[in-house]
Each structure stands twice: as structure tokens, then as C-alpha cells.
Amino acid sequence: MSATDRHTDVNLASIIEAHSADATALIEGQQSITYGELRSTVARCRAALSARGIGVGCRVVLAAGNEIGFVVTALAALGLGAQVAPINPYSPAPEARRKIESLNADLVVLGEAATSLTDDDRYDVDVTSTGELIAGHDSQQAQSPIVPVESADVAFLLSTSGVSGVAKVAMLTHGGMAWVQRSLIGDGHQQLLPTDISLGVLPVAHILGLNIAVLSTLRVGGAVVLQRRFNPEESLDLIRHHGVTMVVGAPPMWHQWAIGDGPPDAMNTVRFARSGAAALRPAAVERLKQRYGIQVAQGYGLTETSAVVTTGRGIDAPVTSVGRPLPDVALVLVDDEGNPVDVGDVGEVVIRTPGLFAGYLDDDAATEIVLTDDGWLWTGDLGVVDDRGFLYLVDRMKNIVIVSGFNVYPAEVEDVIMQFPGVRAVVVDGKAHGLTGETVTAHVAGEIDIDELDAWVRTQLSTYKCPSEYQLVAEVPQTPTGKTLRHGSPR
């Protein structure tokens, strides 16, 4: 490997270098720092990390929320050629400990949000805090310049949401992350500008919060308003107060805003409204347009693709689609045998993208299941494309229930049931049935009469799609980004 494969500007830490020193970079509560201040704070932090032995190939676990300390520490660690593994700062200590062990961390850094985790001698590894690192080693002021890296070098280690099984850790590279950031920034009249201001409320331990809300904005030289936790009123206040122009959210956020009664002018400055991670109901998109005058664009991507693969932004995409693939993304829908399906038919989404991850950490077997030698990612998501090239997502492959040979997509049945008044949440599944192979079952949370629901569902769906069994439950577990947690029954 020649030295010329490694470049300083390939290192994600360099994204803050080029911007005007006086431009605002980060805002957190009453505190705000400029790019000039950010650069010197990050440099100080690099020296402090370096003094603790962090260097190329080391692994830093960062348990911080959406705070300035997270950004500084992450950029500093990357700048030393280390890998950053953000974890949920609100995890209970035993869970965090397990994560830290499985990640083989060289250092654990706790942010202000990690109040349930303490500098506890039960960690087998060096622990410090973002505060300590940022205070730095003034006396040394050792020059720790940004280390040159290759595109393929691992930058971040992110947990996938693991909704149905063992969570895996995706290795994301400098090059992959950068490609998505550049695609997002775009060019032409829809590009992100240094004058843009993003709301950074999606968790930085999640790819959308990390790569879209925070890093893409920093790359272009805009400002990020960091918020620890989403709250419909407070987040809206921040948007209005700071004149936020880009809001990246997950459906639960958009839904809460849609049904809330925030002031209609609160989003007047918003240029880019994006939703990802799960499907956003068209009714919500419509309400948001009516109330706030914004057009929420949906997109599709995975942690494994460093976020975005398709986007509806700027291309007048139908409201139920997730848009078209980004330039340089190849997307194919294939059948069980791997052959491309006809246009209009459902198939598994298979992707090739420059934003591709480098595999799952310490799990070649899991990697091989989704990533083939020829560089294709087999997502396990089902989709269909219309005549104009817009992609629509159907459901996860493994969720399909097969009734008398017919495919039933739980997502479709859930959508219908959610329309019944009184239903708060629902998860549709299948169970074995002697005659038909499987039948559809539904667990419903809400104040409803099951018989009425059943009768109504039968007017909305073909017989074979109707649940043969309903169960009322207290609640349906979901991830913070709105994905339903399904029972672990292997299907």
C-alpha cells in the first residue's frame, strides 16, 4: 500500500478545516462555538487523547448524547486515526458494560448525558469524560496533526437497530461516510449551504443523526443546533429561535408535530424536511404541509450504507415512495433466485453504493449473509419500482406471512388496522396453520372492540390478509426511530 493512498483530507476529521473561523459550528443550549473555536478545541482534545495512548487503529467508545463534547471527541479521535464507537449514553450500566467489552475498547469517554454510567472501576478499560479531554493538556500543547487515512479505513462503529435478533456492529469507513455527506450536500439549486442550520436531535449514535444531521452539516460549514432529547414544543422552539433550515427526523417526531398544535409559522425557515428510518404516513405528510407549509421528503437507507441510498428530496416523488437512488447507487430488485424482477413486481432490494460499510465487526458469518464479493448488499427489504423509477418499500422479507400460497405483508395489514379509531399501535405477524400454511395474527394496543375491528378490517382487505386472531395488548414495543420490535420467533 503506497503512502499516496493515505490522505489527510480523506480523514473525516478534516471536514471542519476549510470553514471560516467566525462561522457558527455548534449550538447547545446557551452555548455556541465557531469553527475556529471548534478546531482549536478538537486539537486540544487530540493531544489529550494522544497522551492517553490513542492512535491509529485504536478504538474509542463514546457514550455521549447530542452534545458539543460528542462532536469534539469524535473528531479528535478520528483525527488520530482511531475508530469511534458511539453508544447510547442512556443505557443502563450493565448493558453499556457488555457493549464496551464486545467492542474491545481502548478508551471509554463519557459525555454529560451519560449520567447513569460512572467512572466506575468495573470497566476493564481506561475511562474518562469529554469534559476532561476538552480541558486538555494546556501545558503540553503538543501538535497532534490530523492523521492521513485511506477511504477504506474504518471511522465509526455503529450498532444496527437489531430489531429482531442479536444487534450487530457495522464498520463504517471514512470514504463511505464522506460519500453520503457529499451526496446529501448535493449541487445545483437544492444544495446544502454554509448558511444552512440543522437541527441535531436524532441520536448521534444512530446513522441518521450522526451522518446526516451532524457530519453533513459540518462538512458544508453550516451550523448544528444540538438537542439532547426530542420534545415537540421545545424542538419547535429551537427551530424558530435559531432559524433552522434543515430538519432530519424519524417518523415518531414528524407524527408528533403533525398531531400537535405548534405555531404554524414555526417552520417558516425550514428548507429541507427529511424523514427516514421507518415509513411516514401520507396523512402525516399532508398535515405537516397544511400546518407548517413544509414538504417532508422521505428517504431510504441503512446503517450498512452509511445512511442514504434513495431520496425523494427535490424530485417531486410520490408521497408514499422513498424516492430514487442517488447518483452512483445501483439498485436492483430481485426474486428468490436472485434474478431481477419485472418493473412493477416486488423484489428484494439489492444495492451497490459508494457508501457501503466494511462488514460487521468480528462477525464474518453475518457479513457474508448480506454482503457478497461483488460488492452487493442484500438488504432483506422488499420493494417495488414504478414506471418512473420511484422506489416504494413493502416490508421486510422475513416478515412475510404466506397464506395458502399468497404473500401477506404485515406492514400493509398494520397500516389498515392503524386507521381504525382507537388503535394506538399494532404488530401483525403470522403463525403456523395446518391448512393454509400460516395465518395472520395481530397484537393491538388501544381502546377498541375486537369484533368491530375485525368486521371493519374485512371490508378493507382480501380475506386471506385478514388476521384470524386478534390479541389486545397493553403496548407494542418500538425503537425510538419508530420501528416495531417483533417477537423473536424465527421466521
Partner: protein
Amino acid sequence: MPGSDATSRVVLGGLRRLVHQLWDIEVSGLEHVPKDGAALICPNHLSFCDSIFVPAVLPRRLWAIGKAEYMDSWKTKHLFPAMGMIPVDRSGGRKSMVALDAAADVLDAGHLFLIYPEGTRSRSRNLHKGRTGAARLAMRCGVPIIPVGHTGTLDVQPPGQFTMTPRKKVTIHIGAPLYVADFGAITDPRTHRRMIDAVMFEIAALSGQSYVDTYAGKKDAAHDDTGTRPTAPDQAVTVTPTRPTGRANGMPQPADETATSTQAPIPTRPRVREAAQGD
């Protein structure tokens, strides 16, 4: 339209009587066929003679698309137009679009039109996956789909036999119409699949067949009987034009870099898929 003339009407009436004399026909559900106005008639497809029996039992003339080659044979030259066939050459993608346009014309004129959603005869006796063309057509023209499930035609004309064996029993069950508005937004491609699956479900119930979720006669997909596939000659596999990077094994390089590729950069399925479907 071919077959509308007086001679054809007489021929058609004669054919109906002949069919009822030669075979033991049982029909149910005739009340589902609208007395006037357009509709798509969608039956299962097992034998060549399906196209004789289904039109023969309907109270109104049924139009369909037939191969242009039929016009070359004197035996069929008068017969098929009388039965409502519109001669269209269907040897390729662009031509199947023409076929669908011809079908739309018939529907727009208020007639009944026959399409076999399976696209070709089922070789397995099972009911196969429906092609979305019928749903697309129904949505385009705003007409209902009437599912039809029949049994017995394979006894009359088994595969490979060119004559029809008389005195067999043929049962034809006609189901209640399915309306496009019940299935979702017309522009959403999932709606087409949703509707055609519902049609196939009804047909299976009417014919008593088992359903398999694969297309009939897959190998012959490019030459299916009824041209219902929504294909164009330049069927894009990738949604945006893209050049295979060349680092993939055996990936074809398209001659024209910028055109949508007709040769799919086909990913090879990973070997170890069955082991774990867990996320």
C-alpha cells in the same frame, strides 16, 4: 371493430349453440356480468380451448387479443374475428404495449375484454401468480375485473392435443367484480400487485386450484399469450443509469455507457442465506 358485422353475429350465435350441444356446460355467477359497460374478464388458463368456452357462456360478446398468425389460417380467419379477437402481433415488448392500447380501446368503447392474468397456460395445473397488466389496464380504463374459475377444459383439450374431445363436463364459475378504487392509489405500483393478488385469490376459490406465487411458463415469459406484462423493449433494471464498476465477476459491460442497460448487472446471491434470517 372486427366481428361486429351481421355475419359475425350469426356465426357467434351458432358457435354458442354448438358448444352447449357438444359439451356438458355448467355455469354459475352470470349475474356478476354487467349487462352493459366495460369490464375485464379474467379467467384461469389451463388449455387452449379456454378461449372457446369462456366466451361461449357469456351473455355478451367478449373481445380478446389474438396472435396475428391466426389470421393466416383460413380456418380461423372468420372464426376468431367473430369471437371478438383483435389481430395484433405480439412478438415483443413494444408490441405488447400496442396490445394493451388495443385492449384499452375496446374497454373505452364499453365492451368486455378477456385477459388471462397468468399470462400463459399453467403447465402445472396450479393457479400461478398474476401479471399486473390486467390491474393496470383496469385502473387505466376505470373498469372492474370479473374473476372466472373454470374446470374441465383440460379434459376437453389436454396439452399437445389439437382436437377437442366432445361430451366432457366443463364448469365455469363467475365471481363478483373487483373494483379498482378498493385497492389504493392508482399511481402506486403496490396497488397493482394488491389488486391482481386479490383477483387470483378469487379465481383460486372459484376454480378450486392451489395457488403458487410464481409466474406460469417462466422460461417463455417473453412470449406470453396475452401481452399483459408492463414491459418496454428497454426495460431498465437499475433505476438510474449506471455502469457496472468492472470489479464484479463476470458483469457485462454495456456498449452504451449512458443508456439504461438491458443487461442487468446481476448480483450473485450469497451462498449462506438459509442459515440465519435474523436481522
